[in-house]
Structures are given as C-alpha cells and as structure tokens.
Subunit: 425 residues, 2 copies
C-alpha cells in the first residue's frame, strides 16, 4: 500500500514536470534568438562568478565517489576545477555565437496556382536527456536544447548529483531574467531511478529521448521509451588500407584513428588490409602501433606476416574495445573489405586509405555508415570537426538525422502556405 | 505441435523474404537512375499491354467482395477498368520523370584544415508497406520505393489479393530486364495474417514500416513494429475564421476544406469562428454548407446564431468524421483558436482565414502542425499540391519527415569526407 502511494506520487511528480516542460516549449518555440543568447551569456557570466559554489558541490560528489565504486579515471572525469568551469562557461558562449536554427527557411517556392509554399525549421518540443558522463553535459545539453527552441529535461548520473544540481541552479535562475519560461530547463532531482522509466512513458509530453553513456543505458532507454530515441549503440569503426594506399599516410591514419583517443565512439576498432599491400604495410603499422601501446589481434593471414600479434577470436570482429586494442584482418580486395564492414560494422564511421580514385568512389558508395572518410582519420566524424559548431550526440539511425547531431538536428519542419483564398478544384 | 511447425515455417519464410530484400537493397543503393527509370517505363508499357490479365484478376476480387463484407463504395474503390489501369501506368511514368533523389549533395564545404565535407542523400534500405486501400497503391508504393533506391516489401488487403498479385507480377518481371535486383519489389503472398507481425519484428532487415489505411491498422503496426513507422493517426484539421476575414473567401475555403472530398485526411473537421465575425459569417457559411449536404454540430454560441445546428457533444471536438459533418465553435480571439487546436488537433493541417498580417503571422508561428495555411484550403496539404511530385503518405510525427512524404522523404543522408591523410591533433 505504501509502495503504491509512493509510486503514484512519483508518477504525479514526473507528469507535472513533463507537463511544465510541454507548456514551456510552446513559448520557447516563438522566443527570440536574442533572448536565448542573452540567457546563454548571462549563465556563462554567472558560472564564472559563482565558481566556488559549483566547486563546493563538486567536492561533495568527488568525496562520495568511492561509495559509488568509481575508478580513478571516472573520478577524474567527475572532478571540476576553475579551469574546467571556465571551459563550461566558454562552451555556453560558443553556442550563443552559433546562428539560430529556428525559423530558417529550408525551401520555398511559388506553385503554378500562385500558392506560396515555404518549409520552415521549427523546434521539436521537449527533449529528455539522460547522461552518465562528465558534468559539463548538464550545461552543454541545456544550451543546445534551448538554443534550438526546445525545453530540456535533464537527468545526470547519481555520482554527479550535487554538481549537476549546482550547474542547473545557475542555468535555471537566469531563464526568466532573459525573458524565457522558467521551466525551459528542468533537472530530474528525485533520486528514484523509476523516474526515468515514468518519463520515458510520456510521449504526449516528451518528443525525443537522448541517452548518452554506456550501451546498457542506451538499450534500457530504447526498450522503455515510447518516443523516438537519438542514439548509437556502438562505434565499431573500420579503417581499410587499400592496395594503392600511400604507406606512410596509412600508418599515420591508423595510429590516429586507434590511439589518439581510444575511449571514444569514432576511434577505430578493426583494421582491414588489402592482401597486396599487407606484407609491406603490416610490419610498419604494427611497429608504430606497438610504440604507442596498442595490442593487435590478427587473423591467420595477418599473423603470418606479423607473428607477434595475438590471434583474433570470432567475437573480436564485433567488439568495440574502447581501449588500446585493434583487430586486424587481411582481405582479398575492396569487396572483401565492404563485406566485412557490412557484416560486422555498426554503421558509425569507416575510412579508406587509397590512391585509387575508383576504389575511393566505390568505398564511399557501397559502405552504409553515418560517415565515410577517404584518406582521413575516423576521428573526424564529430560535430565540431565537421563544422556543426556543437554536438549533442551521434546517431547511427537512418531516420531523422544521421551522424553528428547539432542544433539543426534538434529541429523538425513545418510547411507554411500563403494563398489568396485558394481552394482545390 | 503442428501449429508450432507452421509458425516456424512462416517465420522462416518471412525471414528469407526480408533477407532477400536487404540484399537487394544493397545493390539498389548504387543502381543508376537510368535503370530505375527504364524499369518504371517498361512496367508501364507492360501494364497497358497486359490490361486483360490484370482485369481478370480484379474480376475475381470483385466477385469475392461480398464474402469480405465490402460495402458498395469499397467495392467500387477495388474495381479496375481499362482507364484505371492506364492511370496506374501513367503514374509510373510520372515517377520516372521525377529527379533521382539518390546522390543529391545536400550540403558541402571545405573545412579550415582542408577536409572536404559533403552530405549526400542515400536510400533508407528496405521499406515494408502495408495498405488496405485501392490496388493502385501496389504500383505507386513500388515506384516510389525503388526510385528512391529502397527495396519494397508490399502487403495489401486480402480483399484485393488477386489484383495486387497480378500488378506485382508485371512490376517484378521487369526488374532484372532493367538491370535491377529481382528482389527489389516483393509481395507478401502468404495469406496468414501473422506474417505482418513477423516482418514487423525484423528491424535488422527492414528500415521503415508504412501503414496506409484506417486508424486501427496504424495502431496495430505502431504497437508491433520494432522499426520506425511513417504515419499519421488522424487528420483532425481546423479552419479558423478570424475577425478580419473576407467573408466570401472564408465561406469558400470552409466549404472546400470540408466538402470537396470529405473522406480524406486533410479535410476540415472543425470550424472555429472569431466572436466578432460570427453573427454575420455563420449564417452565410451554414447556408452554403447545408446546400452541399454538410451537417453542422455547434457549441452554444454558434447555435445561438444558427439555431438549426445540432448541439456538439464534447467528443465532437476530437472526432475525425471523414464525412459531411462539421463541428463549429465560436472563440473569443486568436488565442482561443490556438488553444483549441493545441488541445484537440492532431498536428496534421490547420488553416486561418484573415486579412490581418499580425494574426496570420501569429497563427503560423503558434500552431504546431505539419502544415499551416493562410487563406487557403486545408486540402492543399498534399504531396502533389505542394510540389513534391508524388506522395507515399503524410507524417504528423516530428522526427524525420513531417507532412507529405515524397521521394526525398524516403531517403537518409551520409556524410562523405575527403582528406589528404588528415589526422586529428
């Protein structure tokens, strides 16, 4: 009985929060770009002037980190300092400097009967963002949602609760001062984990769910959400070194794709090498990869050339290591590379290194991933690097946006038609 | 035991069909526009030269219509004749004449570091189309899917089975002749209704489900589908007549929106009238609507002006009549109209009739529907009327495409990046 009452009250709380977000989204949709940018700039100033309060809250989370079983690396990601708070503030100002996507006329023309047709960019409505990662996501996500005219519902990890609430407090108190609805950015403060499930069941109030974190979080959100989810499960990314590749370029791209930041989704996990270049290329690549601490796991043909490689097990081709490990396979030709990618890839990012125009064109046409790169590292599949200005996540789905998602990808469209009394005959 | 074997065999059949579609989609993705258009034109020719075989199949369906309990109107929609077959052929040729959406460069620029970035339009993959309506959907859907580079899996209603199979036969036999994969267009021939459920559970092979028919079909598909669904549940469309409307224009738009074709999704279902114009406008409108056989159901204020109206019940505001019935409410002002639409609308199509620029601009900004029209009939929210060339359905979702969906809306994008050995620093 008690449990039921608690459930009802949690449901009521969640519903009330989601309803307030929906109402806020209506007035945010017509808010001026000036008001949104004013809010971003005031919040940045306030963060800088109240850095001590944010750091105090952060100290409480860092102190409790061992209780949550956080590793040293995870605790480091959680820890803020004056420089990191300043970076969060600067990121807000960078979003303020981006063009307002709302109201952009994407298409427009006059029909033969004189109807004037335009297709406008408009906000999605309410976005529910769940994340496990660094506290800066609280500010980044709020900034991207509000700048694109959407109300944000934020839910960070419990290990960063005090920090997230402090950051949210600074952001929220400047909304009304800037002329925006006070419920434009809400943080789900109830510790109860059930709150997430309740909110994911409210498609009437929430238009989009964005989970950012490990694959298990994402699978849970996809299983429970009654609204669309912007996501990728994995970045099992490939670099294919073609027969005609310049070897030095190929080595430098493979090393960069694997080792520059191994823990992120656009890092390479498997290297595919054309049979004709393997005997010269693989020993060079293996040496350089070894020098930066990468462990190689090869198929038989690769190990025949570089015997020091560990043997790859079948599951290696499907594994996103997020670590300094690289699977290596020798393929007969470009078709072999494309088939391997079709079978094992996650549709995230693939790169070819080649000097052959036909090979480049075929790889680009036949590989079905959110981004395909020619003679460049997989690490460039990123909103900042592709020029989107900022990124809320990368989607490997084919619906709506695919690849890095910036401000535009948080909008939908509306057809607007002006006539002079037009009726259909 | 027997039932289990039958289930397994059905699952195998569905899986095999879906796998073949997936394989076909890979080669369709790189098929030339010339091959796709050749197929469309050859199929049109073949349909015309084999009209007798198609009409024979159709006779069998029409003869069996009473068994399925089809009404006279539904039987008429099912019935083909030489002219209707010719129209189906002509529609194929019209799709052939549209530009190929695949490979269109949507954006492209050079980054400061010299990376050349383009965003290309590419097919979604495999589309599963379920429909209850006229047999022409078999040809229309196949044409739109293949022209946009997607493999099609078609499933029409059992009452049109023979006709659909005959049409599919003509379309399918010209695929290989035109240089396209033979499995680019498949028809789900097994009568077992479970086949639909099986296919809806295969997101690994099918990228998009499109149900076209009544709301119960659509709700079933949304409940079962593990892949995105392109759909609208209802078209509960509104016309708002503002205080400043030209009365003659307003009457003609309301009559057109309601009565020109009452059974379709973009027909108006509710008329909202500003209090200031109601006493003069409503009697005129009521007379003209009565003349074309429309029944009016009004709120108290409307009935005080036109007492012959029936009283509207609360559920009238949420009803898509798809018939010659119109709900009528008097509102205090534009805010009242916008609130009524936010509460009762289905996000499909709304129109305002006004002479006031500020009212037009506010209505366009504040009404959150796939299309908003100013001084034009709701009937214009249609792929053909908006210039998309052809339409596979109308989406009221905000994700992916919103509004009428033509060839472009059956595609996704791929980022393609060319470098000269670029790595991230």
């Amino acid at each position: 009985m008690h449990a039921q009452v608690a459930q009802d009250s949690l449901l009521d709380q969640c519903r009330s929060l989601a309803e307030r977000a929906r109402r806020a989204s209506r007035s945010l949709a017509t808010a001026s770009g000036a008001a949104k940018d004013r809010w971003l700039r005031c919040s940045a100033d306030a963060l800088r002037s109240r850095v001590d309060a944010v750091l105090d809250a952060n100290d409480r989370d860092v102190a409790a980190a061992p209780e949550f079983g956080l590793t040293a690396a995870a605790t480091d990601r959680l820890r803020l300092n004056p420089d990191r708070v300043n970076q969060i503030a600067t990121a807000l100002e960078e979003v303020a400097a981006l063009p307002d996507p709302v109201g952009e006329v994407i298409e427009g023309y006059r029909r033969p009967n004189g109807l004037e047709v335009t297709k406008l960019r408009v906000p999605l409505g309410v976005i529910f963002m769940m994340y496990e990662s660094r506290p800066n996501v609280t500010a980044d996500a709020a900034a991207l949602c509000v700048k694109s005219g959407n109300a944000a519902i934020l839910r960070g990890g419990k290990e960063a609760r005090h920090t997230n609430l402090a950051l949210h407090g600074v952001l929220a108190e400047h909304l009304e001062l800037a002329g925006l609805p006070r419920d434009a950015v809400q943080y789900v403060g109830v510790p109860d984990r059930e709150a997430v499930g309740q909110l994911l069941g409210m498609p009437e109030f929430i238009d989009l769910a964005i989970p950012r974190g490990g694959e298990s979080l994402i699978r849970r959100v996809v299983a429970e959400a009654k609204m669309p989810v912007l996501k990728h499960y994995q970045g099992n990314c490939h670099v294919y070194v073609d027969a005609s590749a310049q070897r030095t370029m190929a080595v430098s791209i493979v090393v960069n794709a694997k080792a520059q930041r191994p823990g992120v989704c656009n890092a390479a996990e498997t290297l595919l090498v054309h049979r004709a270049i393997a005997p010269r290329f693989l020993p060079e690549a293996a040496q350089e990869l070894k020098d930066v601490g990468v462990e190689l796991r090869g198929d038989e043909a690769a190990r025949a050339i570089v015997p020091s490689m560990k043997p790859a097990a079948p599951e290696d081709w499907d594994t996103e290591y997020l670590d300094k490990i690289l699977a290596v396979a020798v393929v007969d030709d470009l078709d072999g590379a494309v088939s391997h990618i079709a079978r094992h890839g996650s549709g995230h990012t693939e790169a070819i290194v080649t000097s052959d125009l036909a090979a480049a064109r075929r790889f680009v046409a036949e590989v079905d991933s959110s981004a395909v790169l020619v003679n460049a590292s997989t690490r460039f599949n990123d909103g900042g690097q592709l020029g989107l200005g900022a990124e809320i996540g990368i989607s490997t789905d084919k619906f709506h946006a695919r690849g890095p998602c910036g401000l535009r990808e948080l909008t939908t469209t509306k057809w607007v038609v002006y006539g002079d009394g037009h009726v259909r005959g």
